[in-house]
């Protein structure tokens, strides 16, 4: 049997640079938009779409199809990844067993208002959005040193 010759993998520097540029634009464009238009209050889904749109437009204007295509691919990955996490439990959450039914851990709500979006601290988020629990986040309470002089 003849030996199959493997194709030599060619390092395409131009393509690498284009994909890098696309990744940077997709990640950083939302922050740039927020700094110019701080009152927009975009939620995460919209920021990812805005980043993808910015990358695509950059590719079109510079006539670089790799940038445009890579932006779209990266945006799709960003959108699909949380859905996969929901199915397989993801890195942060462990499926909760309850009477034989596996339930997913609660996801934090979208940070439309920009406050208290510590995504790895569900209890802290729950305290403030429901206001039904004790305020037990010490980061929010005033220390006795800061209020003692007032009385």
């Amino acid at each position: 049997m003849p030996v199959r010759r493997r194709k030599k993998v060619v390092v395409n520097t131009k393509q690498i640079l284009d994909v890098m540029a696309a990744a940077l634009i997709v990640q950083k464009a939302p922050d740039l938009i927020n700094s110019f238009f701080p009152n927009l209050g975009l939620d995460p889904m919209m920021t990812k779409i805005a980043g993808a749109g910015a990358g695509y437009l950059t590719g079109v204007m510079l006539d670089r199809s790799d940038i445009a295509n890579a932006s779209l691919a990266l945006a799709v990955v960003d959108l699909v990844s949380p859905m996969i996490d929901q199915v397989i439990g993801g890195v942060t959450g462990v499926p909760v067993e309850n009477a034989g039914i596996t339930m997913q851990p609660p996801l934090p709500p979208s940070n439309k208002y920009g406050a208290l979006t510590q995504t790895d601290n569900y209890k802290g988020t729950g305290d403030f959005l429901s206001l039904n629990d004790y305020v037990d986040d010490p980061g929010v309470r005033m220390s006795v040193a800061s209020y003692r002089d007032s009385y």
């Binding site: 701080p38 009152n39 209050g41 940070n111 208002y113 920009g114 406050a115 208290l116 979006t117 510590q118 995504t119 790895d120 802290g124 403030f128 959005l129 429901s130 206001l131 039904n132 629990d133 004790y134 305020v135 037990d136 980061g139 929010v140 309470r141 005033m142 006795v144 800061s146 209020y147 003692r148 002089d149 007032s150 009385y151």
Partner: protein, 367 residues
Amino acid sequence: MVKSVPMNTRDVLNQNLYPSSYENTRRKDFPYYDVQAIATGTTEYYFFVAALGNQFARNKRLPLSGSEVFFIEEIVGYIQLNIDTVALVDDLNELLQQSYLEISIDNRVVCKLPGLDFIQYVYGDTLIATGTSLAPKTHLAKRKLPLPIIMNSTSAFQFKFVTTSAAATAFNGINLRLSLQGLQLDKLDSFYWDNLKQNQFQQVPVTYYNTVPVTGAGENTYELFADASINQVLFSQTFPLSDIQTFSCQNIEVFVNQPDTPIEPTTIYNSRLFNVLKIRIDDVSYYSANLQEMLSIVAGFGSTLTTTPDTAVVNILNSRNSKTFKVPLEFPANSKVRITLTQPASSLGITGEITVAMRGIETRRVA
């Protein structure tokens, strides 16, 4: 991961008011003051609405201009009359326990402070015949806010003082002065600053107070912060809290006054000192102790010296004390709260009023 946005206006104050140079604002330690003459029949007074013109009366009229922001750090009031008779002590107590200053921002009440929080007065033991004060003293209370109240350029502010008709009659023609101590920012460049932007919650300094009448000398438990149907001047908050607010209590003061028939004030003080204040939150006992750290009293008593000729004197006991908690009492939204004050049998000071004032920070949803 996005970090939480700080809600603490103290952080905002420190961040914006005390940086070094090359900032676009001019900072000044600048008090605003205004005066209103109390008049019989008028129980509501609005400050900082009169036109400027008399520098001895006022130096500010609200709203602020578009280039100013003001941080209120202390609130001070002053009743311009020497308290030197038993009747005036009684009237002063109405001003302290049954009057309040309501601060509203953009049609939303920020806090309702009872008079005992911030009203200053002069008083003194007196020889009745000559009306001479034997030892005049000043009581220089001020309500120092743990978090500043921010008067933004574009906000509508209202400072409303409400008192009883009896106090209005007693102090008819007397000036009540209000002073807001704090820091003023003059904007050197035009900018729009919104301290609530992107925050879902805000924290404001508050005083929850409730004034209850003493019903008799027998053993009795007074339920506090429980009845919202009483006169508005007698309370600022009842429990349970709504579902959009929580309260962190940092300081408590219990204030008693002289009875309708005055007796020696030290007798009242010694009697009230060992009443028991209990605070239960969701069936957990958070505080249960006597008033030794937190009892205040303003009471007068007239007596007659056995001299020739007989000389009538008035002596006034003015003692203010409050307990600041090292661990604040946290009141969650919608929680079951029971606050009671229990007096034993044969309590003296058989009439009069008791005011319990809880001071701290309220966290509430923005809008």
